[in-house]
């Protein structure tokens, strides 16, 4: 018996929903960014599984684009976190609820 598409998709779904739960629960910006990373990775895994289902390379190409986007997003996000920390001396999103500059 080989691995079916269900097992792979189930793994991707579990990872994605774990990331979603983390994003909703945590208040620390670093953890929120990490949860977004988990979710992007799970979406890429789903693309690879779909590519493996059809035996095509398109899924892997899409994973490359997701990787590019994740790298950009992390660099900008971490720069924003540093700015937030310099301004509020904290990485708690609840402390950053004012919009004065």
């Amino acid at each position: 018996m080989s691995i079916g598409i269900e097992q792979g998709m189930l793994l991707a779904a579990i990872l994605f929903l774990t990331g979603l739960t983390g994003l909703l629960v945590r208040r620390d910006v670093i953890f929120m960014l990490m949860s977004v990373e988990i979710m992007l990775n799970a979406a890429g895994l789903a693309f690879i599984i779909a590519g493996s289902r059809w035996g095509q390379a398109d899924g892997q190409v899409m994973f490359l684009f997701i990787l590019t986007m994740a790298a950009t997003e992390v660099s900008v996000g971490l720069a924003l976190i540093i700015q937030l920390f310099m301004k509020f001396k904290s990485v708690d999103t609840n402390k950053a609820n004012t919009m004065n500059g």
Partner: protein, 177 residues
Amino acid sequence: MNTLFYISSAIAVFATLKVITNKVAIHALLYLIASLLSVAVVLFILGAPFIAALEVIIYAGAIMVLFVFVVMMLNLGKETILDESNMLTKKMFMGPSVISLLLLAEIVYLLIQQSIVPLTMKMIAPAEVGQLLFTKYLLVVELGAFLLMSGIVGAYHLGEKEKLVHHRFLKTGKDIA
């Protein structure tokens, strides 16, 4: 191959759960690296060796190291951990967990509805991916280049410290007013 797939999936799920429940940022990051490495094993089993290598090199190697650098640079003390432990109660986890479990139940229901389709598990060589990347998806590659360029510029602009000298005649920002 099956056993390997199940073992690495179990490690991935466990490590990811530890990431979202951990209080210390650096421990969570190390768990996330473990999770990404086990996902790389899954990708290798599914017949994507090139992507598995990229997952190790770029995700676990570059992106996570960037996270580690920032966490070390911010040097978050005990107060942050205390704040987090005050926030991370069972009550906080209730709502999001219920939503996620409902969505998971829906996905499982949809998956067991249809007949089992085995994956081809055919090894897709990097050459095949590269050929597709630079013929069919060439435009998207260029858009990705734009995105990376704007990411570099944005990170540089956001990351720099506030300027002390605004103009050579106005030494501090207060002189403007």
